[in-house]
């Protein structure tokens, strides 16, 4: 199986580990992520007011490029890119007036023909979690994982439709396929503060603290995420949280593809764990997984 793939800006630099592990694992699982040529930034924000069409020109061009190379599916790994592309496509499909304005402006013929998929969705719907389980060479036994969804992977549910809003299970099902144990984690759909990290950092610190404390209270060894912004907030805010509360228990936060790579027996040296503030290698070594 071959899919058009949109990595996005952050996966080329700050979240290289999410991208590297995702690509390596796809080959091991029998699907190819064929990077879209000449892609641009998706814009990293979906415009929430209906008179800001310009912000949709970038993502629409990306979708039209996918269509023009003959593909009807586009895979994203980053939750932000996934959300922006998916919501833009929803407009292209359902709002004739806005679609006409945007496609006329960028001079492209596009009517929402491309289906935007998240990598997790490919694993669930196209590969299947049972087939994934069979490919696992190093089951992550004894590892307790808090599966953190955040906002953009799920909401708004009518436009994204990946899973239920209040109690999604795709991430937990994925973790079970790898042999690890998902913990009960009520804060899994709460916001990490997102872009407020550059404006109201206190919001990002407090939100991260609540999410991480909830994961620790429920016995998690680590938190996994699909989003570079969530990973950054949850990992990078921990020194600040420790300053506010020395009794706070730190916890490693890393990408789901990194854990997938460990379970598939890929070389952990390529996983780039050293860039995390709370280095997960120690934990994985302790559990005998790397």
């Amino acid at each position: 199986m071959r899919y058009s793939y949109f990595p996005g800006c952050t996966l080329y630099t700050k979240a290289k580990k999410l991208d590297d592990a995702g690509r390596e694992c796809s080959l091991k699982l029998g699907f190819e992520l064929d990077e879209l040529p000449d892609w641009t930034c998706c814009g990293a924000t979906f415009p929430l007011v209906n008179d800001q069409h310009m912000l949709m020109s970038g993502p629409t061009r990306i979708l039209a490029d996918t269509k023009d190379r003959g593909d009807d599916k586009l895979v994203a790994l980053c939750s932000v890119c996934y959300n922006v592309l998916k919501r833009t496509n929803h407009v292209m499909l359902n709002d004739e007036e806005r679609r006409a304005k945007i496609t006329d402006f960028i001079e492209r013929d596009y009517h929402g023909e491309v289906e935007v998929l998240h990598y997790l969705q490919v694993l669930r719907d196209e590969i299947g979690f049972d087939a994934l389980k069979e490919k696992v060479v190093k089951p992550l036994e004894g590892l307790k994982v808090a599966c953190y969804y955040g906002c953009l992977l799920l909401r708004p549910v009518k436009e994204i439709g990946l899973d239920r809003m209040e109690n999604p299970t795709i991430f937990e099902d994925f973790i079970r396929a790898l042999g690890a144990e998902p913990v009960d984690f009520p804060f899994k759909i709460e916001c990490c503060g997102a872009f407020q990290t550059v404006n109201s950092m206190a919001t990002a610190t407090r939100c991260s603290r609540e999410i991480l404390s909830n994961a620790v209270q429920n016995g998690a060894d680590l938190v996994i995420t699909t989003c570079p912004l969530c990973q950054f907030n949850l990992d990078d805010r921990q020194p600040e949280i420790l300053k506010e509360d020395p009794a706070f228990t730190t916890i490693p936060v890393f990408y789901f593809t990194q854990l997938l790579a460990v379970a598939l027996g890929l070389d952990s040296g390529n996983l780039g764990f050293e860039r995390n503030f709370i280095n997960p290698l120690e934990l994985l070594q302790e559990k005998g997984l790397v």
Binding site: V49, G193, T197, S200
Partner: protein, 138 residues
Amino acid sequence: MKTIISGDQIKSDFINRVSEISGENFFNCYQCGNCSAGCPSVDEMDLLPSQVVRYLQLGLAEEVKNCKSMWVCAACTMCHARCPKGVDISKIMEALRVLRLREVNAQPRVDLTDFSQDYLERAPQIAIISGCRKFLPL
């Protein structure tokens, strides 16, 4: 404090414009408060999300224009997900932000020179780009 409510202020240009570009009808809200209960940013807000909608229903444009809440909303859309009437407050907050940022003398809400080089090297592009898009004059 005395609050004056009039038909004129409910139909004011600013209130109409917020409704128009957000695409939301404030009068769908019956003030159950689910949005405020689930909002991650309420600790930093001066008006709760449900209060912002109430003020808009009453046409209190100045109070809403000057509230801090719009600037600390993280657009996580939890308010919308839990609203029994389907009101999307993230769109209303965005409408308030962009109307402020489109004013002639609008000031930037973030200044990247305030951040250390070290922070900018650690922060992912999506944080910087989305932050700039939400907080710089348009």
